[in-house]
Symmetry: none
Subunit: 399 residues, 2 copies
């Protein structure tokens, strides 16, 4: 990567404020996107002094998951570094996976005890107490000699399976047959290097089935998305930035932790996050501040809820700006239009406020105004390079 | 290609309306481009509800031929998939080349019978009847044992040479010396794999010269642009789209046929094409509708003619929109500014009308307004990926 050779001894601080699922599409009734409908005078004011643009996080027309969206924001190739489903699931319940751990997403399920055919891929009614009871039982009873096995409760039928040991490869087939009426297949190594891991997981499954034999509708498990943590260059070393994450949800704390950021303590609200930023201001060069609410309301299809999160957070933005970061970035990891109730491929608005930013008119911080910004439409994975440049942290290339 | 793994079972239909040579440059007198001068209220209305942008079909500053322009529109790398000159020439006279055919563009020419030096690279005055007579004679007399040889009439001095047989490679040198006063060189294999093809073509040329020995100013031929059909993944399989082309010119029917689209019957006018679209609406997921007139007037330098084609077609656009495609794209394969009387490198305006399109103001469908669109300036070969996304035909990437 070209920029690596160009890092200088600049000291400008960078704040990257990420509204999860920021981008929207026009509301069918009003024709306005969430950002167009929101009252965000401070973001608008900053946009009018910023370099603005739109980012494709993965590629034109490709809808990013949270993993690829954040890997792009952090400047990694989102198609080259895969944060596997198991890893994300573990992060989501607060477990940041170690290098020697293999994770998978698990479902409690029902099988016919005689034929061993799966009769229900999500065994029994959702019940959090039961989930906790079963997970505790598995943590007590399931052992695989030579490895550590660990189970973490998720929601409803879901849990996380962790196997810890040497030389575990994650090229493994899944045990969820995706249909009922057939047995759950054993794990198979999809690469010779994963033979040991396959054997260990299959022994764990045998032990799980023994532990659950009397447990009625939850008498077996299905495991999917086996994954180890990706091998990435740590973010602080990559950019020469002492880096901190201020996030409230486990998954985002986890992704930041995976790339080597310090995860700061914070209360659950945006004012708490801003307070954490101010408290730790002198200790870091880079702050990743993650707001989850926009994405949550996007998934629910709650237009007004998403608008409200934006408007409420807007009030606190001057407190971030008053810390006088060399670069203040406001953006998202992907779009989650409330009209679609899901992530979408639509490019993500971004503003970069810095002394040398070139504004392009009376900008509001909206998708449409960002389309006319000086940054144009660009790959999200180039944002960190721009951040370093605007912060005065990159030397000239060539003579 | 990432999108291949993300195709879902979506059913949204896509119409791609291509005005050949759409883009223009400002008229020296009025400062208006053809699109700015045209009265296109329906295209303007659609643009105001569309995601707009500009496309580089090959690369910044590169002027596309018709082959690369269409390969990009169809989502293939226009520099990776070459539709050779011979193939295009054959398509232009209505012959869609088979996999085992080798084609070349031919000129009738004059050589001195004694010295065998070329004295005129385009033998004699242009005469279509004579062309047809000569081609018929060659089809009757020229044979190469082990191969089939076929000649197709073109315009003036031009014809298409087709050689059919096993293991024909198109890495062949040309026989046109480009200057007079020297003999036409024999074909040489530029790759060992083409040795058999070189030999067969040279035997054909010997037989051609014998057949034409008495034919005065057209007593030999010059062959250029030897080409086999490119090996491309068929468009319908690539995108999961049952696909039809509605074109009036042989070359464009041919390119569509090469990539595996069904070529629908249509009369020669745009109303005929729209009628064909409506008649076959239920049978296809994707329609490529090609309008030739804009390019024709562009080449002639007839500004008003190009404007007229746009305005006339505009009246019928609501009939296409009333079919309610999930995605309606209007664009070109390259620019053909009347001021230049030729293809040009200028990026091509594009609109994508879809439910989740984000408009960016009071757009007209012009080069300048498209520059401010949400799609920005992007590679033409990404258009199909965007079309699939807007049609709801792509899953999320990553968790």
């Amino acid at each position: 990567m070209l920029f690596k050779d160009l890092l200088n001894d600049g000291t400008g601080k960078i704040v990257m404020l990420v509204f999860d699922g920021l981008g929207g599409v026009p509301h069918p009734d009003t024709g306005q996107t969430e950002l167009e409908a929101a009252t965000v005078p401070n973001l608008d004011s900053i946009a009018s002094r910023s370099a603005c643009g739109l980012m494709n996080m993965v590629d034109y027309g490709i809808t990013p998951g949270s993993g690829p969206g954040h890997m792009a924001l952090f400047g990694y190739d989102p198609t080259g570094v895969e944060v596997g489903r198991g890893v994300l699931e573990a992060l989501g319940v607060g477990h940041t996976q170690a290098d020697d751990e293999l994770s998978a997403r698990g479902n409690f399920a029902t099988m016919d005890p005689d034929s061993r055919r799966i009769t229900d891929r999500r065994g029994g009614p959702p019940n959090q107490d039961r989930n906790i009871e079963l997970v505790a039982r598995l943590n007590n009873l399931v052992t695989v000699p030579g490895y550590e096995v660990k189970f973490l409760s998720g929601k409803e039928h879901r849990f996380v399976f962790i196997l810890k040991g040497a030389d575990l490869d994650d090229s493994l087939s899944e045990t969820d047959p995706q249909v009922t009426g057939v047995p759950s297949p054993p794990v198979e190594a999809q690469d010779p290097a994963a033979a040991g891991a396959a054997d260990a997981v299959n022994r764990a499954i045998t032990a799980i089935n023994e532990a659950l034999v009397e447990f009625g509708p939850q008498n077996t498990v299905l495991l999917r998305g086996f994954a180890k943590v990706p091998d990435v260059e740590p973010f602080p070393a990559r950019y020469g930035l002492k880096s901190a994450a201020i996030a409230t949800y486990p998954m985002y704390k986890g992704i930041a932790s995976l790339v080597g950021m310090d995860v700061l303590d914070t209360g659950p609200s945006f004012p708490d996050q801003v307070a954490a930023l101010k408290a730790e201001w002198d200790r870091y060069d880079f702050f990743f501040v993650h707001v989850k609410g926009t994405d949550g309301y996007g998934h629910k299809g709650d237009f007004d809820g998403k608008v409200r999160v934006l408007s409420e957070c807007d009030r606190l933005i001057p407190e971030i700006e008053s810390q006088d970061p060399a670069v203040l970035i406001v953006t998202g990891d992907h779009s989650t239009p409330t009209a679609l109730k899901d992530h979408s491929f639509h490019p993500v608005p971004v503003l970069v406020r810095a002394d040398t930013a070139i504004p392009t008119g009376n900008q509001h911080f909206t998708e449409a105004d960002c389309a006319g910004g000086i940054l144009g439409v660009f790959p999200g994975s180039k944002l960190m390079q721009l951040a370093l440049a605007y912060a005065g942290r990159l030397k000239k290339f060539g003579a």
